[in-house]
Symmetry: C2
Subunit: 349 residues, 2 copies
C-alpha cells in the first residue's frame, strides 16, 4: 500500500510500504476513506521539531473496517468508522474518567503500540488500529459523501476546539475570545457557539478565516495582536476582558496573548501543542486569578456528543477544509498549509 | 499608637507611630481587636524577599470601628468588622465579578492607597481603612470572645483555603489532596470538607497538624514527599491520583508535587504565593490535561458565605491558631512561626 513518510524538513513522500496485518486479536484493519494534514504536522515539516529518521506521519482519518481480530465486538467489517488521533481502549480508568489521551494502554499513530505491533500513520491507504473496540467509533449507517469532511473533523480538530471550550468552562451566556484562526481555532468558535456563548471574538487577520469564523458564530473580529490586541479585547469587555479565552496555537506569543486578554478570575482553555519555550507566567496568573486548563484533547470521549449534530447537519465543522487533494499529492497538501494557501487540506486515497 | 515594623531579616519591632487620621471621606479608623502573622510575612522575615527599607507589616485583622468618614454608610461606629488582607471597593467590575483582589481602586495594607493616604499594616493598634464600605464586613452583632479567632481567619487563611477548593472545582463527592499543612492548608482541608469532598488526603509530617487535619475532615494522611509522595497518592486513588489537588505553599517543590499528584484531567487549585523561581511545566500539564487555577484569594467575596457558619459554630477554622501573644511580643510571634513552634500566632493588642 501507499503511506506518507516524512524524511526531513519539507521532505514529504508517498512511499510503497507493506500492508498492515492483524496481530493482537483486538485490532482491526481500516481502509482510509479520508485523511488530512494537521497543524501539528507542520512542526516537523518546518524543521521546528527535528526528524531524526524517516517515519510515517498523519493521525486523522475516517474509513471502512476491512478486517477485525477475533476479540473485536464493537465494530464489524464494512462499518464506517472515525478514529481519534491516538488509540485507546476506553476501558481503563483514565478513559472512563474522560481522558482517553491518557489511556493506560493507548498510543500514537505512526509508532509501535504497547503490544509491539506497528500502528500506521493516518495519511495512507490502510491502517492497523490497536484496541479497535475502543479506538474506533462506528457511525449508525454509511454516511452521505458530503458529510465526510465534518466526520473527519471529529478525529481531531472539532473535538480539539470543543476541548478548549469545555476546559475553559464555556457555557450559556459566556464571553469568549479565540486566539488562533487555524482549523482548531475556527472549530473552537463553533464549539463555543454550540455551548451557548453569547459573545465570541475571533482574533484573525485573514479575510477568508474571518468570514468562516463569523459563519461559525463569531460576533466580533479583532485583527490586532500583542499589547494592541490585549487593549482592544479589554475594551470590548467592560475594560477588563472576557471570562474565557481559547488558546489554539501553542506558541509563547499566543499563550501570552490569551493569558493577558482574560479578565481577572477568567480561564484560558488551551489546546495548542506547546512548542519552543512556551512557559506559563505563574506570577501573572497568581496576581490576576487567571487559570489555565486543557491539553491534548481526548476527542474520542467527545464523539458521542458531537456526532449526532454532524449527522443532522446542525454543525458543519468540515467547512474548515478548503482544499481537497488526492493522497498522491500529499507533499503539495503540506506545502499549501505551510504557505497558508489553505486552512486545512483533506486527502482522498 | 504602636505598630509592627520590619527592619530587615529577622528584625521585627513594635514602634511608636502617629495615630492614623481620616482623609478621603470614604475611609474609617478601626481599633484592632485581634491580628496575626501570615505565612507570607515569613518571606521578608527570612530574607527571601529583601526588605530595602523599614516598613509596616501585617495584613490580617478584626476590630471595632472607631471613626468613619462622612461618605461611609455600610458600617457604623462600634461595629465589629472583618477586613480582608487588602482593601477594595466592592463596586468595580472586578469586585462584582468576584475577584476583589483585582479591585480597580484597591490596594494593600502597609502602603499608600490609590488616593495617597496611608493604609496601616495590620499588626498594630489602629488602622485607617480605605473604601470602608467595601473593605469592611460587619458582623450582625458583637461576637462572643471565643469566636474571635475563627472570625479572624475570614480575613485571610479560611477564605484562602476556600479559594483553593473553589478554584479547583471541589464539590460533593470529590477526591482531594492538600499539599501544605500550614494554616492555609489546614483551612483548605476544612473547605473541601464543607464543600462535600468524599475523600481528603492531607500531606503532612507533623503530628499536631495531622491531628488537626483529621479533625477538619482529612480521611488520610500522607507523610511522603517527592516521587514517593506522588506514588503513595496515586496508589490511594485508583493508581492515577485524585481529581483535585490544593496547593497551599508556593514553592516549586510543592507545585510540582501538586501537578504530578493530580490524575489526568484533574485540576490544581493553588493559593500559595509563588516565590523563588516557581514555574509551571506546560508540557506536563498539556500531556496530562491537568489544569491550574487560583491565585491571590478574593476573600472579601467569600465572607458572606463563610461567616454564618463561623457564627453558628458549624466550622471552627480559628483552631489553626495554636499560640496567642500580646502585640508587645510580636517579634516572638514571628520567631515561633519561623521555627515551626506554632502553626499560626494570634496577636492581641
Amino acid at each position: 500500500m501507499r503511506a506518507t513518510v516524512i524524511y526531513g524538513e519539507r521532505d514529504i513522500r508517498l512511499d510503497e510500504v507493506p500492508d498492515p496485518t492483524l496481530s493482537t486479536g483486538g485490532d482491526a484493519i481500516v481502509r482510509v476513506v479520508a485523511s488530512c494534514v494537521c497543524g501539528s504536522d507542520l512542526w516537523p515539516y518546518r524543521g521546528i521539531t527535528p526528524t531524526e529518521h524517516p517515519h510515517r506521519i498523519g493521525h486523522e482519518f475516517v474509513g471502512l473496517v476491512q478486517e477485525i481480530g477475533p476479540e473485536v465486538t464493537n465494530v464489524k467489517v464494512g462499518d464506517f468508522v472515525i478514529a481519534p488521533f491516538y488509540d485507546c481502549d476506553m476501558t481503563c480508568v483514565n478513559c472512563l474518567n474522560g481522558v482517553s489521551t491518557s489511556c493506560l494502554h493507548g498510543g500514537w499513530w505512526g509508532s509501535k503500540d504497547r503490544l509491539g505491533g506497528f500502528a500506521d500513520g493516518g495519511q495512507g491507504e490502510l491502517i492497523r488500529v490497536p484496541h479497535a473496540d475502543g479506538s474506533l467509533y462506528a457511525t449508525p449507517e454509511l454516511p452521505a459523501e458530503e458529510l465526510i469532511p465534518s466526520l473527519l473533523t471529529l478525529a481531531d480538530v472539532m473535538g480539539t476546539g470543543h476541548h478548549a471550550a469545555v476546559s475553559a468552562g464555556v457555557t450559556a451566556g459566556s464571553t469568549v475570545v479565540v486566539v488562533g484562526d487555524g482549523a482548531v481555532g475556527l472549530c473552537a468558535v463553533l464549539a463555543a457557539k454550540r455551548l451557548g456563548a453569547s459573545r465570541i471574538v475571533a482574533m484573525s487577520r485573514h479575510a477568508d478565516r474571518q468570514a468562516l469564523a463569523r459563519e461559525f458564530g463569531a460576533t466580533d473580529i479583532v485583527e490586532e495582536r500583542g499589547d494592541e490586541g490585549v487593549a482592544r479585547i479589554k475594551e470590548l469587555f467592560d475594560g477588563v476582558g472576557p471570562e474565557f479565552v481559547l488558546e489554539c496555537v501553542g506558541t509563547q506569543e499566543s499563550m501570552d496573548q490569551a493569558i493577558r486578554s482574560a479578565r481577572p478570575g477568567g480561564m484560558v482553555g488551551y489546546v495548542g501543542v506547546p512548542n519552543g519555550g512556551a512557559e506559563l507566567p505563574i506570577r501573572t496568573l497568581f496576581g490576576t486569578n487567571v487559570g489555565v486548563n486543557g491539553g491534548v484533547a481526548p476527542v474520542r470521549n467527545y464523539i458521542a456528543e458531537l456526532l449526532p449534530e454532524v449527522l443532522s447537519g446542525a454543525i458543519d465543522p468540515g467547512r474548515v477544509f478548503d482544499l481537497t487533494l488526492p493522497l498522491a499529492e500529499v507533499a503539495e497538501a503540506y506545502a499549501a498549509m505551510d504557505e497558508r494557501r489553505a486552512i486545512k487540506v483533506l486527502l482522498r486515497p
